[in-house]
Amino acid sequence: MNNMSNTRAYTTSELLSVMCGRAMSDGQIVFAGVGVPLLGATLAQNRHAPHLTILFEGGIIGPFIKPGRLPPSTNEMRTAEKANMLLNVTDVLSLLQRGYVDIGFIGGAQIDQYGNVNSSYLGDVRRPTTRLPGSGGGNDISSLVETIVVMPHQTKRFVENVDFITSPGYVSGGKSRAESGLIAGGVLKVITDLCIFGFHPETRRLSVQSLHPGVSLDDVLANMSFRPEVASSIETSEPPLPEELEFLRYLDPERMYLR
């Protein structure tokens, strides 16, 4: 993906999981997918956020995932391990609409300058080159709550305009998100394996906020197909700690998601 990978002591998914975990605070309610966000959330629970609650779209409130038994979907019983409550899908998603959720995590195939995410179609929707799995709860999360997008940093994924908006970010920038009817939520940040983006307060375009260790701004820009905004002062994130990596590998010994 980029020339730093060879010298790192961690994989892309490990780095993303650590950065996700650090984005969560104790006491928060987070709506997670089963891959990197779940690893990050479980890591956060183990370290700085013991009172973090995970929700899954399958209808699950507050599970604790068993090491070595990571679920392959958000909609089956492995995800319900030690849960506080199982409720129907429409009701768990309604918790987003009601406002119970602090952060939702989503991924996708493409993201654009306004944080819109595509997980539906590559190419023209009427004759797509690739039909992807689709929204699932992604559109619900991004429409209703503050969202963090997690995505590998690749030119083909970071495009000026996505082919299809599955999960809206700031739509066409400025106030267009609220004008389209989405008066709550919005993309808080985008976490990649190179950097973390925030959004420009007025244009609502992606804005480089912090760089991961060993990454330069040029690396970030070279792996995107458009030029984002750059914050006036850029921070450097703390590298993944050995304890963080050790815990992630304990959770996912078969490397189902830690690729």
Partner: protein
């Protein structure tokens, strides 16, 4: 409310739905039948809604039999679709598929069958958000024509649907809302852990959208791991999720969700799902059809299929 005759709208789909319901036998009567007889009640062109989600409590035996009976021109809805969607598409059963997500499961990657059907325009494919489909079934279950929501706006999804969607400004708050039309499927297919002969159904584990789907549908076909006595149901009526009065057929069908999971009884057969996934990944639609010949069309009955793939656990 003025009593203008026109406002009575005797042609309303709502009244038609009520008439269909009043014509159903809703009495406390025995409804047990065979898998093939139950599926034979499904007609070509029906809208069939499927319970469970992904590979959890999927009414797999019903879908398996539906493919064997070569039903045609169905509209199928299931909010999160796994392997069963491949078989319905490759089996030539579906004109229109409504879902929020379609793939065997995240770790298995994209379905090549789904890609072939959608990318080549061989099926009308409607992508909804997960909550939207749930709300559409719920509106159907509530006897309302639509449900207002705050999702799908600002996205490309509404314009890509065949279904026309309206928005409105809330008369109380001024908020912009998307109005999701009610779904009242012709048939709901539901698999549960236990039910009595009358159709009182109890299920454990994740409830998904099953109760809403059942109450929204014109007809409900249940498969159950086990038929239990009505006394057992009445001993724990708070566990009954679907009442007899909404159920039209009860089929006792051990391992009826296999190779998918059924909470408390058996896990998904991951080995078998890997095997199928490899065949569709290497062979596309042809690979899926080869699998279907061996596993859907050749076995003499559901029990033979279950024995062939092997399921660990108990039914």
């Amino acid at each position: 409310m003025s009593a203008v005759p026109d406002a009575q709208n005797s042609s309303s789909p709502y009244l038609a739905m009520r008439r269909r319901l009043s014509g159903r036998d809703r009495g406390l009567r025995e409804k047990v039948m065979s898998l093939s007889a139950a599926v034979a009640t499904i007609s070509d062109h029906d809208h069939v809604a499927i319970g469970g989600n992904t590979f959890s409590r999927t009414p797999f035996a019903l879908i398996w039999e539906l493919v064997r009976q070569q039903k045609r021109h169905l509209t199928v809805s299931r909010s999160i679709t796994s392997t069963e969607g491949d078989f319905l598409l490759a089996g030539g059963c579906v004109d229109k598929y409504m879902t929020s997500w379609f793939s065997q499961g995240i770790i298995w990657g994209l379905s090549r069958v789904m890609r072939d059907y959608v990318e080549n325009g061989k099926v009308t494919y409607e992508e909804w958000s997960h909550m939207s489909l749930g709300m559409m079934y719920r509106a159907g279950a509530m006897g309302l024509p639509f449900m207002p929501t705050r999702v799908m706006m600002g996205s490309s999804m509404p314009a890509a649907l065949v279904t026309h969607l309206e928005t409105m400004r809330c008369p109380y708050t001024g908020d912009e809302l998307l109005l999701l039309p009610a779904l009242n499927p012709n048939v709901a297919l539901i698999h549960v852990q236990r039910a009595d002969v009358y159709g009182n159904a109890q299920y454990d584990g994740l409830p998904f959208m099953d109760a809403d789907i059942a109450m929204a549908a014109d007809r409900v076909i249940l498969t159950t791991e086990k038929i239990v006595s009505n006394d057992e149901i009445r001993a724990a009526p708070d566990h009954t999720r679907i009442p007899f009065l909404a159920v039209d057929a009860v089929v006792e069908c051990p391992f009826g969700a296999a190779p998918h999971e059924c909470a408390g009884l058996y896990d998904a057969n991951y080995k078998h799902m890997n095997e199928y996934s490899d065949r569709q990944r290497t062979g596309g639609v042809e690979g899926a059809l080869g699998y279907m010949r061996e596993h859907i069309f050749e076995p003499k009955d559901w029990r033979s299929f279950v024995d062939k793939i092997g399921v660990s656990g108990r039914a």
